[in-house]
């Protein structure tokens, strides 16, 4: 028997492939549900409150969104990789406290503390990932333990070193001004002050999207989330990918932690608890599947933007902010239902 070449090269269009319009292609994207939700919400608040669409208000909304969005980038990638992290909220504070307390206690240049904080944040991510790989426990348990331990460490060490529940002010220390310029300044664009975190947020989303769609690592992230055993069998370094994802979350926590520190120059050691859910909510609203293997970084960003709009929009509309959590819950429910429908259609079509 010879090799039968039933077909030579013919990547010509196939008649069985119906031409998909750009609109239909858009519908196949994971973040489309969130995008529709964001547009509806934007129009709604624009109609209810005239101040909502003012440039100054938009800058505030973007800033609020960025403080969630920076973390949502890492959390989205991790969720696509099939894991999630409950320690992110307090890990942000841990990072800020590390930089603050170290610089203050040893009276070093604050940049030394900033560098150490990066090492600590990446290490927390590494340890989360490493324990997960070694014990094969669900990430829920592992990161819940990390969450509790970090909460305790934040409170305990801050009191032990600084003698108070808040870290001592470092605003008069060497390097503070340059660090504030990097992490907590504003950029004036067309008469509107836009916080620098907004640009970091956009940059992180762009990098994460590029990694996901255009690099080998992106392919591995989808694969370890979609089916870790299959990925391992074809030679994907599953362990390294998962640990790397936890470390990426650690990096995002460092960026946000540094912003918190240099925007306010002291850090409350008990803060951050509960924020981990906001990051997860942003990722889920943005179309990331809780079970992994599907989602996008842009989706997480849109999720964070929805959060920012709802958070500030209620204030601009002069409603009682007590209602905010109710809206957040409702949006989460609607978004997950939309995602479920989208996923089923993607699988069955």
């Amino acid at each position: 028997m010879t090799i039968t070449q039933t077909k030579t090269t013919s990547p010509a269009p196939d008649e069985r492939v119906a031409k998909r319009s750009p609109f239909q292609k858009l519908l196949g994207r994971p973040e489309v549900g969130a995008l529709v939700g964001a547009i509806v919400l934007f129009i709604f608040f624009a109609l209810v409150s005239p101040t909502f669409t003012q440039p100054g208000a938009l800058a505030t909304i973007l800033y609020g969104s960025s403080t969630i969005g920076i973390m949502a980038v890492g959390v989205s990638l991790l969720m696509i990789g099939g894991e999630f992290d409950l320690s992110t909220g307090v890990a942000v504070i841990t990072s800020a406290l590390t930089a603050s307390l170290f610089s203050w206690y040893f009276t070093t240049n604050v940049w030394v503390g900033v560098g150490l904080a990066l090492v600590v944040s990446l290490s927390i991510g590494f340890i989360n990932g490493w324990i997960l790989i070694k014990t094969k426990l669900p990430s829920f348990i592992v990161t819940l333990a990390t969450f509790l331990m970090l909460t305790g460490l934040n409170l305990g060490l801050t009191r032990l070193i600084g003698g108070s529940v808040a870290s001592p002010s470092i605003s008069n220390m060497e390097g503070f001004d340059s660090a504030r310029a990097i992490f907590a300044s504003s950029v004036n664009i067309g008469g509107v002050d836009i916080k620098i975190t907004v640009f970091y947020w956009f940059a992180l989303v762009a990098v994460a999207t590029w990694v996901l769609m255009r690099t080998r690592v992106g392919n591995w992230i989808f694969a370890v989330g979609g089916d870790a055993n299959a990925a391992r069998a074809v030679g994907v370094p599953v362990k390294a990918t998962k640990i790397g994802l936890f470390m990426a979350v650690g990096f995002c926590a460092w960026v946000l932690g540094m912003h918190n520190l240099f925007a306010f120059d002291t850090v409350q050691s008990g803060e951050g608890v509960g924020n981990e859910f906001l990051y997860i909510i942003a990722a889920v609203i943005g179309g990331c599947l809780l079970t992994g293997g599907y989602g996008s970084a842009i989706g997480g960003a849109i999720g964070a933007f929805i959060f920012g709009m709802a958070n500030k929009g209620i204030v601009y509309a002069q409603w009682n902010p007590d209602w905010f959590k109710f809206f957040l819950g409702l949006m989460l429910l609607l978004a997950t239902i939309v995602n479920l429908i989208v996923k089923r259609r993607a699988e069955l079509k």
Binding site: M1, T2, I3, T4, Q5, T6, K7, T8, T9, S10, P11, D14, R16, V17, W210, R214, T215, R216, G218, N219, W220, F222, A223, G226, D227, N229, A230, A231, R232, A233, V234, G235, V236, P237, G293, Y294, A346, E347, L348, K349
Partner: protein
């Protein structure tokens, strides 16, 4: 008994590789065994895989087929005997090790990620990149083109490489997995029950790809429990039962009937007939089973009580 078994002892010394004409096999196992705790999953298995030959591993559930391929594919390590790759003794630490020496495995559960597009699955773990250092990116268009072209050359006519692989039928997914292994320069292709979950027609398609892979010079290990699938494509047949080798035959020395009889196990059938008889009231069934026993006895030349 007509079937002449390959002598386990002389096999690895005397038999020559059809391509290189040396006694060095592409892959050979010599007395390989494996236990999990106190469970002996596999003991003393000897077999050889050569270029352009299909070695079939047959056995019922729990015969040790899966353990055997997991050892060859690098998922588990054997704890007895020797695994030789081109005459060199090896023990794999991970599937990556096995892949690096050219052993590709197409698993029963396919080792594809259902939600990912076909082209991403095709290149998963071996993505093509361009650029330098941290700016290295995947060559997406090239990978899509190659996927479409390679699948077309294997005779798989696909519609759209962007669609999630989960949308393909079982047979199509098997073929994508085989094409992937062939494209990435596999020397040894392990197929774990590729026809188990398929219909008659789709099984035929998969068997055709096995022959295509063989004709491209690959050494194929075809794991199955169906002698009707194994016999037409196989060159050698290793029969496993309860973790042990119960026979190793060359195609010229055995017929399909003999293979089936060995698989079916005349002794078990005879026992079943006795049991049914004792229960009583199943006259027709008993007669049928006894008929089968007679058939088996005839082809294997043994008698069963």
């Amino acid at each position: 008994m007509n079937a002449k078994e390959i002598d386990q002892q002389t096999l690895l010394q005397n038999e020559k590789d059809p391509l290189t004409h040396t006694p060095v096999h592409l892959l050979s196992l010599d007395g390989v065994g494996k236990h999990y705790g106190n469970i002996i999953a596999l003991s003393d298995v000897t077999m050889a895989v050569d270029n352009g030959r299909v070695t079939c591993v047959l056995g019922d559930n729990g015969a040790g087929k899966s353990t055997l391929i997991k050892i060859i594919a690098g998922l588990h390590q054997h704890d007895a005997g020797v695994l030789n790759i081109m005459g060199e003794e090896r023990k794999f630490d991970s599937p990556r090790d096995a892949l690096d020496v050219g052993i590709a495995t197409v698993y029963q559960d396919l080792a594809v990620v259902p939600l990912m597009p076909i082209w991403r699955n095709f290149f998963l773990g071996s993505e093509m990149t361009s650029g330098f250092g941290p700016f290295k990116s995947m060559d997406v268009e090239k990978m899509k083109d190659i996927t479409l072209k390679e699948l077309a050359e294997m005779g798989i006519d696909l519609r759209d490489v962007e669609q999630p692989i989960g949308q393909l039928s079982g047979g199509e997914r098997q073929c994508v997995a085989i094409a992937r292994a062939v494209y990435f320069g596999a020397k040894v292709l392990i197929l774990d029950e590729p026809t188990a979950a398929l219909g008659v027609k789709q099984s035929g398609v998969v068997l055709r790809y096995i022959l295509q892979a063989r004709d491209r010079g690959l050494g194929v290990i075809f794991i199955t429990h169906n002698p009707h699938h194994a016999f037409p494509v196989g060159d050698r047949f290793l029969l496993l039962k309860r973790g042990k080798s119960i026979g190793y035959y060359d195609k010229k020395d055995i017929t399909l009937d003999e293979l089936t009889a060995q698989m079916a196990g005349g002794a078990e059938l005879a026992e079943l007939a006795h049991e049914l008889e004792q229960l009583g009231g199943h006259g027709d069934v008993v007669k049928e089973v006894q008929g089968e026993v007679a058939d088996v006895a005839q082809t294997t030349g043994k008698t069963y009580e």
